[in-house]
Each structure stands twice: as structure tokens, then as C-alpha cells.
Symmetry: D2
Subunit: 328 residues, 4 copies
């Protein structure tokens, strides 16, 4: 796409927009999938900035929910949910750099009904959870298997939803923590942000040598907040183009697409996630786009865009964005 | 607009879409503006369902911030901020009914620079406040006067923002509480939701005889969250068309426009506002649109839309919506 | 008690510890009880600083739960819960002053079982509520009638609890808001703080002429947090000694007893209530006890005492205190 | 102490109260201290249930703040704060068991002024933080060096505080996560609960083979909430007696002392920490002390005790307790 030429990735990345080798990260090659994101696991491959990787992701249920009778509480054993591909090492990446991940394409994999949505006991925004700990009975456990193709998500006889694929979980490794794949934080992780789909570039802070990129948790579509706790989870073939920006040090992940740049925060309570995102955006406008700090703050009060990722995971995710036309 | 014919207001309102008498609620006629929304003040006029009212609203600073030197901390005395027009009595309205307010038009009033934005000490999302009580120094107090017309908001030499007018504060009276006009709650009030502009219908629960409608706090534009604490506040001429829906009992306000219906919650922490909004939307889909409860809940997890009103007021406001095409 | 002579009330109050006229505020004299705390109701009596008032309070269920079969959801109609005596006018009280309320004694009234505890649908800390809005079924509605006398609270054949009476709701009127009696805020209100019993002095900010003192909601005992939503609610005869401190302007209520002074905050989320309380305490130590601000802050980090009022009401209440021996 | 004979540790532990070998875990023997608590590090020793360990803990600043001029922002590099001893393997411990840690004694180590308290930029309850992200200036960075001995904490010429030692950080390893030592969670970790001192028994869930016990972060005293962000941090010689309870599976840590049992939750917002703690306590009373669930819930509403650990760390900690006399 044309806008890419003016993206931060193309302007500041080591590869400057050129595409290098294409790697395949199949299920077989991945072998062991990961349930934590950290510095303690063996890398599955090493790539150069500019390389492309075609990743076969598994669904968040690790493929174990094949029929509506496969209740998550029976077939899954926490914390072994949301399997991740990776870690992928990026040559030259060091603490203090940023990895750029442009999502080129996301295609469904496997047989239909390949989509899965579930209400899981003690999970979801309108249920008591392990953290919002209540004595109320759990909501019923319900599994839904859904046909998905690139034309749509066949939710029910009544409703066909648009195919709006995105990656739920994406990140480099934290420096010393190893964080379960259900939790988003300053490294990225399980952000469940619907904007993180084909055509977007996510910028991820590098905190260990080689960056150690993890990716997984494809969604065929998702509403703001992922309110019941799960999206239309599905196995995907996701093609990413990866670059490295040396010396660009981020506290939290950021995202860019054709029209918007966005800072992303993950925390609880939800207002803290929004505070992080907006603060990062103000500081970004000040540092790189020529805005005086209070001008940026007051102007975002008039034109800032908020995107809610999830408010069901152990931490909640919010993106705060501004249209790029105001940054020119 | 054509879609209005199929709106809930036109289908279920007492006036069925017909427009009755047009009333003018000028500043003079209003006389005393109000700083609480409750059952204890004298009504300014009585209208019939279907009547139109042209309201001269004051800005949230009560017109006292005329230049950048008029610091809010000097010219305003809390709780006397955000003056409201009304209360307007609606004939036949009783506890358990709903008032529908269609906003036809919002025009700027007064001389330019008629818009005002301010950073106010101990107010705003990225500042300590009276509730998120900290020992840090306040951010600087900054006032910005801004030219506004129907072509745009002239933010700075660098940036012209689109004119996106909406009403920040709208509600009927609570049953026995009298709530200051800075706080949104189950009655509506200071929701600061950018969707509440021309072309929208807001449905407000009636809790006292005559409903007692209050309106004020026009914004020429506002970003999601109103992050610095204020929008481009301005005096407006706002034209509303009001109807009454008998026997439709709402726990929280709702909103409808051409493409979306939305339930609105206001609470702290922010996730509770989102929970209220989504719960109300699920129950609405179940009660009136033929959805089974868990189908609605799971489907909103795939296609729900979240709109952030403010997260700067004493309570935060979230709207949870669904496209009307899925409700047909 | 001897310590009273050194209390703030006795040192700074208009009456300087002397006791004036004793008034009786019986149920009959009260006539209409109140469900909001605000400036819009007629005063029930006027007293002078130093006067004593013997108040017959009703229980929070307004006496309607007489047997375990009287379910609150049937016999109560919200918002008509937690009836208050008052408002009592205090001569000479003006905005900016403080009213001191020393609780001399609280005796049970009425026939046994005079105590009531209930689990109420969509209420309580381990249940979904109107604000933490969930789709889970409500917990069962359970009513417990309990014998109470000054020797104890006869909870069950297995457990006798100590009689630890205190007032759940106490405040002067807000300036323009009228706040339902379930909600604590900067005026005081439904704080449900077990420390507010005989032997304590509560300092309440005055925001309207005459102060307009409200009191009610006696508890025979209560655990920290009032976790199920109700204490052992009972009708009481509560004797208070009231004084007025001119020109002492408080942002939030405070409390003093023999060994501790405490600042009280009410907000959501719960950390904001704690922030308010600790901030007020730091500023108090700086303003009146000769502490440098950061010394006070760091020292409270070593010896501050936190008392949890409720975390079940629409706002949560926290007291932050310090032993008086450190203030000498 | 006599009560120990009736403790859960003595009644259900493998060692039944007997004391086995005494091990010394000196600084030298420890060698490398740890900044995450997880399954990925090498054990420093293996003990049997019933063994005693004398641990030389470092202070939370890793001994680097020797004078008031050693500002934490200069001498510490996050996440390398709060060093931990361990992991200690306990023979026979398996996932699903519980480790009991009785703290026998805590003695100060090193030269005076051995205590350190600091206000650290963007840290503490009354400051913006990395999560409650604000644009306000940081509070000043202040370091305080304090003499500490077993007679007291010599805070200032004006104030001597009592020596109330306790362990701030204690836990077994999570199953797959490796969690930085600043964050408490379901494994325990940085709970900063003043009750966790000599005479207390902490019960920690075992999630990996050998349990992998970590300990550190001694405090000479601490107020409720640790409001400025740090306690009087000091190097200690802490003597613990460790036992293993087979087949007792806990979701969250618990604590017992002579008079109280307590369940501990860590989460944000603070009400969620309190919900976890109270829910765990209700379920415990039901499972092991013969209480019907709703009786336990309603009774805790009358006699539950809440203890605030910290509300400054990335997650907040609350203990909910009940006096043991009600459990007999």
C-alpha cells in the first residue's frame, strides 16, 4: 500500500521498506507452542530486519475445542491457553530498540467450522472472575463453533458478520519477567485490539537481545472489549513483515495504520489503561511531531480517538490515537 | 431524515413523529440557570410530547471565561459550573416512562472567539483530582479561546478541527437526588458523549411527574474521553424535538442514530461504566430484538461498539452499541 | 472521659466542652424521615453549639423487616432506604465552619429480635450490583433477625458477637446537591465506619447556613467493609453532643477518638478513597501538627492506620489515621 | 509459643511441629539474588519439611542506598529492585500442596543507619505512577537513612516508632510465569503485609515440584498501605521454620497468627483485592470450619477484619481475617 512508504517503519527501519527473505513458521517447525512470553525459552528461528514470516497460528483453545461439547473447562488446563508461536530472534535487536511488525495478510486455516467462541466459567466482562471475585454462580458454559472464510463470519442463521481478522497477542519479550499469554502489559502481549490486523504496523519495545518476538491468538472478528471473554478464535496463516528501528525506545507498544497513530496501554482499572495510552500519545506528539505538551493534551481532548481492546483479561487494553493528518 | 421514521421515537412516541408547537427557551426566559439536576427547582416551561424547543445554552464556564486571562480558578466558584437550561415539564410524563430527545440542530451563538478550552487545576484525566487525590503539583492552568463556526473549529494556525457539535449534559430529574451538573449517573447528566449531537435521539428515564428535562453544556467538538477535562465549550442555539414514550422503563439512558443503538452507563472505575452499558445492551437485545441472552452476549463480543464519553468527571461514561442492521 | 478535655472539639469548639440544653428527637417529633441529605428539606429543630440531642434512629430498613419473611426486595422500594433523622440546625453555623459530633451513647430500642441483617439482591461486595453490572444470577435473598442488647449481638447458637455500636450515616448538608442516604461523599453520609461509635468525635464540613445535621443508620456491630452489604441494623437511642468550630474548613470529614485522629475519604475505586484519606491526613499534619509535608508522608508510610468503612455502597469509605502520641 | 501447637501448620504439616535441621542462607551462600519469582532459576538449597532456615536478606534497595545522597533513581536500575533469597526446594512438595512458613525471628543486620525509606519518582500512592500515568511533575525524590534496632525505629528527633519487623515478599514459584519481585499476585510475592512478621505462619500455594520458596524485603516497620511506596527497608537475619502440607490446595496465600486466620488477595483495583480475600475466607469457613456459606458471608459482614498490605505496588494487597475464637 502506498501509505506504507511514509510509515515510521519504512522511514526509520533498518530495512527501509525492502522485503528480504520469506520464512515459514509452520506448526511443525514451531513444535512446542508457548504459554508465557519471556526470556527463558529457546528461539524457533532467527530473521533479519526486513524479512517476512508466514506464521501458522493455533487458536486460543489450542485446537482442542472441536465441537460444542468440548467445554473449555474440560479440555483446557489453565494456564495452558492461548499458545504462541516464536520466539523469533531479530538480528541486531538490542534493549532500547523497537521492532516493527506489519501484518500483510491473515488467512483462515483448517476445516470449517474453524471459528470458536466460548463463554468460560469465571471469565468475561459480565461475570465474576478470578479477580473480580464474587460468590455468584458462574454464567453457563457455552461453546459456539462458527464457519469462517474471507467473506465473512457465519455467526448464526440470522447474522453474518464481516471478516475482520487481527492478531490478539503480539510482543517481544520482557526483560526478566515471563508473562502468561493471557495478560497484556508494557511488553504488549494479549492486547486483543481489533486494529491490530492486516494493514497495521505494531511497534514493540525490545528489552532483550534479539527481541524474541511472539505471535498468536488470531481473531476472525472481535467487538470492542471482547465482552464475553473470547472473540471468534481461529487458526490462521498470518504473514508479517518485520523490521527493526534502532535506538527508538518505547515504554509501551504503539500502532500505525493508514490514517491513525496510536499509543497502547494495558492496566487495571480501565482508566489507568486509558491514562497510559493518552500520556504516551501526548509525549509522542511532543517528542516527534512538534507539539508543545499542553497544546497536544488540550487538542487530544478535542480529537483523540479511543479504542478499547479487551476488558476481560487480567489487564485491560486501551489505544489512544490521533489522525495522522494532524501530525503532518 | 428518513431513518427517523423507523426510529423508536417515531414508532413508540406519543406524538408518533409529528412536530407540534415550537417553543423558545432564550437566556432571558431561562433567567436562572441550574447547577443541580433534581426535583427541587421550579419549571421554566411546559411542553407537549412532539413539541420542539429552541434552547439558548450557555457554555460550561457560564460565559465567564472571555479571554485567556480569565482563569477558571478565579472566575468560577465550584460547584457553580456547567449551567443548565430547564427544567422543562413534559405533559403526561410519569415515573416509568421515557423521554425521547431528538437533536435537530446545534448552531454557535455569540461573538468569536466563542469557544473555550481550559486546563483546570486538579481536573482532567492526566492530573491528580479531588478523587484521585495526590500530592503532586497541579498541571499549569491554561485557557484557550477558539474561533468556532459551522465550518470548523479553528484550533491553531496549524490545526482546523471539524465542527462536531453535541450536547454534553442532558437528562430528566432523578427521583429524590439532586445531582450537580458535573456528574453523570443513571439519570444521564454530564455524559459528554460525542455521539449526542444533531441526528441522534437520546432516551432518558423519567423518574418524577413531568420528567423535568435539563439540557446544557454544548461542545463544538470533543475527543473520546475529553482527556484534558474540557471540550471546545461554547454557547449554542440547540433545537430539540421531544417526545414521550409511555411505559418504557429504562434503568439507564440510551441513544439511537441512523446506524446504531447504544446503551449508556456512568460509573467508576471505568470498567463498571462499560459493564453497565454492555449489560443494558444485552438485556435490551433480549427484551426487544428477539435475541436469546447468551447469543446476544457472545455476539456483542464480536461486533459490539464502545464509545467513551468522559473519563474526567466524577463518574465516567461509556456507551455500548450495536449496528441496527443486526437488529432488523 | 478525660481525653475529651484535650480534644479538638473541646479546645476549638464554640462551647469549649460545656454541655447545654438536652433535646429529644423522638420518632414522633421527627415525623418524616429523610432519604436524601441536602439543603431542600425543612429543619426538624434548631440547637445551640454545646447542646445535646437524644435521637431515636430507625434501622436502615425503616423498620419494615420484622421477620425473615419480610424480604427487602418486597418491603422496601429504592431509593427509600436508610431513613435519616434531621436536619438539625446549629445556630451560627456557616459555610466554611465545622460541626463536631461527639457520640456519648448508643442504646438499643424496640423489641427483640431488634437486629436485622440481610443479603439483598444485587447488593454487597461479593455480588454483582447496579454498578458492577453482571449477568450472573443474584445471590439468594436472606434475612436474619438477631437479638441485640448491650451485652452482645446474638448472631447464632454458635456465635455471640460483641456489641460495638456505631452510626452508619452522619453528615451536614452538601451545598447544592441532595444525595441519597446510601451514598457517602465529601459531606460524610453513609460512611459505615465502625469507628464512628460512642467515644468518637466526628468533624463534618459545613456547607450551608445552619449546617443541617443528619443522623441515622445505627449498627450494633459491623465488620470491616460490611461485606454482605448490611451490618446488624437496629433502631437506636443515640445521644450526641454537638459543637461548632468556626472557621475550620474541611474538604472531607475527620474523626478523633482517645488514641487516634483520622481523615475520611469516600470514592470509587477503593484506592481513590484511600488516596483521599491519606492526602487529607498528610495536609492536616502539615497544617496543624508541625510536620513538614514529606516527613508526614514518609512517616505515615511507617505508622499510618487504615480503616475500611464499606466497600458495598455506591461509593466506598476509607479512614486513614495516626496515633495521637505522634502529634503531641 | 503455645498456640502453635494448635496451628494448621502443626496439625497438618508433614513435620507436625517438630524442628529438623537448621540451615544458614547467608549472603555468600546465596550469591546471586533474584529479581523475579519463577520456575527458571537454579535452587540455592534443598530442605526437608520441618527444617529451619536462617536467612540473610538484603534490603529492597539491594544495599545501594547508603546515604541520603544515593538517590534510588541513580543507584537502582529497574526492574532490578527488591532482591530475593532462594529459591529453596522443599522435599516432597508438589503442585497442589501448601508450604507453611512460620517466622520465628527477625533481627537487624549491618551497621546503622541500616534502615532506608525513600520517595521514588513516579512511585507511591499519592503520586502519579507508571500505571496511574499522569502528566504532573514527580514528587521530590527523598532518601531517609534511619537507625533501627530491636528497641525501635529512630525515625526523627521527634518520633521513635516501634520495631515491628515483617517480611514484605514471600512466595513459592508460579507454575510458568516468572513475576518481578515488585508485584504480588496469587503466588504471594510482594504483599507488604505488616502481619507477616515473627509469630505468624504464612501458607503458600505450591505450583511447581519442590515449591521453590523465595523470601526477602524485610521491613523494620510499615504503616497500612505503605503509602509513600517504601517501608523502613533494612537488611535482616530472618529465621523461618518451614513445613509442607500435602494435598491442601490454595488459590491464594493465607496467614495465621495467635488470634486470627486471614486470606490474602492481590489485584487492582483495590476492591478486587478485597473481594478475593473475603471470597477466599468465606469459602475457607465453609470448607473447613463448619459454616454454611451465607452464614459465613453475613457473619463476616459483622466481624471481618481487613488488613491493607500495600496500595503502591503494581498490584495491591488486602488480607481479610476472622478471629479464631469464632472458628472453634
Amino acid at each position: 500500500m502506498d501509505w506504507l512508504k511514509t510509515s515510521i517503519m519504512h522511514k526509520r527501519g533498518v530495512a527501509r521498506g525492502s522485503v528480504g527473505t520469506t520464512h515459514e513458521l509452520t506448526e511443525d517447525k514451531q513444535g512446542t507452542f508457548h504459554y508465557t512470553i519471556g526470556p527463558y525459552t529457546e528461539a524457533v528461528m532467527t530473521i533479519k530486519p526486513g524479512d517476512r514470516v508466514i506464521v501458522q497460528t493455533r487458536d486460543a483453545f489450542n485446537g482442542k475445542v472441536k465441537t460444542p461439547a468440548d467445554l473449555p473447562s474440560k479440555v483446557l488446563q489453565l494456564p495452558f491457553a492461548n499458545p504462541q508461536n516464536g520466539p523469533i530472534l531479530i538480528e541486531g535487536a538490542e534493549k532500547g530498540d523497537t521492532v516493527a511488525v506489519y501484518i500483510e495478510k491473515m488467512a483462515p486455516r483448517g476445516e470449517n467450522p474453524r471459528g470458536t467462541c466460548a463463554m468460560i466459567p469465571q471469565f468475561g466482562a459480565l461475570s465474576g472472575t478470578s479477580l473480580t471475585a464474587l460468590l455468584a454462580e458462574s454464567l453457563p458454559e457455552v461453546v459456539r463453533k462458527i464457519d469462517v472464510d474471507e467473506d465473512g463470519v457465519y455467526w448464526s442463521p440470522r447474522v453474518k458478520l464481516p471478516y475482520r481478522p487481527h492478531i490478539g497477542t503480539l510482543s517481544c519479550s520482557p526483560e526478566i519477567d515471563s508473562i502468561n499469554t493471557l495478560t497484556p502489559d508494557a511488553h504488549g502481549g494479549n492486547m486483543d485490539l481489533p486494529d491490530m490486523g492486516p494493514g497495521s504496523i505494531t511497534y514493540l519495545p525490545v528489552r532483550t537481545a534479539g527481541a524474541r518476538l511472539f505471535i498468536g491468538d488470531a481473531h476472525a472478528c472481535q467487538g470492542d472489549g471482547e465482552v464475553c471473554g473470547t472473540a471468534v478464535e481461529y487458526p490462521s496463516t498470518t504473514t508479517i513483515h518485520v523490521d527493526l528501528i534502532k535506538g527508538w525506545t518505547l515504554a509501551w507498544p504503539r500502532l500505525e495504520n493508514e490514517s491513525v497513530v496510536m499509543a497502547i496501554g494495558s492496566a487495571r482499572p480501565l482508566e489507568d489503561a486509558a491514562r497510559i495510552a493518552y500520556k504516551e500519545l501526548v509525549l509522542w506528539m511532543e517528542a516527534e511531531f512538534g507539539y508543545e505538551r499542553w497544546d497536544a493534551y488540550m487538542m487530544l481532548s478535542q480529537c483523540g480517538k479511543v479504542r478499547l481492546g479487551n476488558f476481560v483479561d487480567p489487564k485491560y487494553t486501551v489505544g489512544a490515537g490521533i489522525e495522522k493528518k494532524y501530525l503532518a
